[in-house]
């Protein structure tokens, strides 16, 4: 009996398979990108410039001491309560006349802020504060702003602010980017991020 011969493996399509794999990996690999909290530092000011006068009730003071404890408006506070407190302060809208806030949902407490556009959050650190606490505080304060902006965007346009921002930054977004930009700016103007950081003491 003749020996059975193995049929030759057709290698002609190997290149196709190789290219298929190559393209698959090219499409699916995303190179890991870093994420983080973006902030803008204030430019260095002239010593001679008079600081503007701000009403005490429009300032929300957050002090972090060297033992990573928080003092918010002269009251000790836990980090988990900070977001709600900041939202309450920013959205208070007690102003009347020129300072009146037509879109605020807050309690209109006369001892708290007049208008979100006037409200300033002031953050003071100690030099011995740990970075982890600082980032937590920053995160909660940014979250408070984002929460208010989300609410405003939801009311005006039925969409989250964060969602709109993501769409705006997405190069594949099929929509009108200009109106989107206008809307984003409008929401931003309603709740501008006014977060001032003092030089740390101690």
């Amino acid at each position: 009996m003749a020996k059975r011969t193995a049929p030759e493996v057709n290698a002609g399509s190997m290149a196709d398979i190789a290219f298929l794999l190559l393209i698959f990996f090219l499409v699916t690999t995303t190179i890991e990108t870093d994420k983080g909290i973006s902030r803008k530092l204030p430019p260095i000011q002239d010593e001679n410039v008079e600081p503007p006068i701000i009403k005490q009730k429009n300032i929300f003071t957050v002090i972090v001491n060297r033992d990573n404890q928080l003092l918010v408006e002269d009251q000790p506070m836990k980090i988990k309560d900070l977001r709600a407190a900041a939202v309450k302060f920013l959205d208070n809208g007690a102003g009347v006349g020129e300072d009146a806030c037509s879109y605020c949902q807050g309690a209109k407490d006369p001892s708290s802020s007049d208008n979100p556009t006037k409200a300033i959050i002031s953050l003071v650190n100690d030099r011995k504060t740990e970075y982890r606490t600082y980032i937590s505080v920053q995160n909660e304060l940014v979250a408070a702003y984002n929460e208010l902006r989300n609410q405003a965007a939801q009311r005006l346009y039925g969409k989250d602010y964060i969602q709109m921002e993501n769409n705006y930054n997405d190069p594949n977004f099929r929509g009108n980017k200009e109106t989107l930009k206008e809307r984003l700016d409008k929401v931003k103007d309603m709740y501008p991020q006014k977060l001032s950081e003092a030089e740390p003491k101690g």
Binding site: K3, T5, A11, I31, V64, E130
Partner: protein, 158 residues
Amino acid sequence: MSKFKKKKSGELPAISTASLPDIVFMLLFFFMVATTMRETTLMVQNNLPYADQVEKLDKKDLVMYIYAGKPSQRYQSKYGTEARIQLNDKFATVRDVQKFIYAERETKREELIPYLTTALKVDVETNMGLVSDIKQELRKAEALKINYTTKTGDVSKN
């Protein structure tokens, strides 16, 4: 009829290796594309904090990295355990930050300079004193766009 039947096309034909180069090239390209080269070797401990209000840091070529933290285990005998700044591959002091920013700007095209961002990769245990000093230097160098690089997660994990 011949007695010697012609053998049916040899024994075990050799598998064609003609496509081997393709495979090799494929692998080569894949690794070329997917590998990010780590420009700097970390010399400090770098356990980043958690945050959830994060933004992506795209366009890697427009980012300058500043690391800070305690020196890693193997450098501790030489540099101690006090938190330090690392720029490129060297330990640096606060005074070097400005020089570093200017040097980085030199390497970028002029029209891109306003878009440069400084990513601060700071260890969780670092004191704010050092971070504020860095920030102060960045203000002096007019590198105002910064990003605190974090891990994504709830702050309660901090």
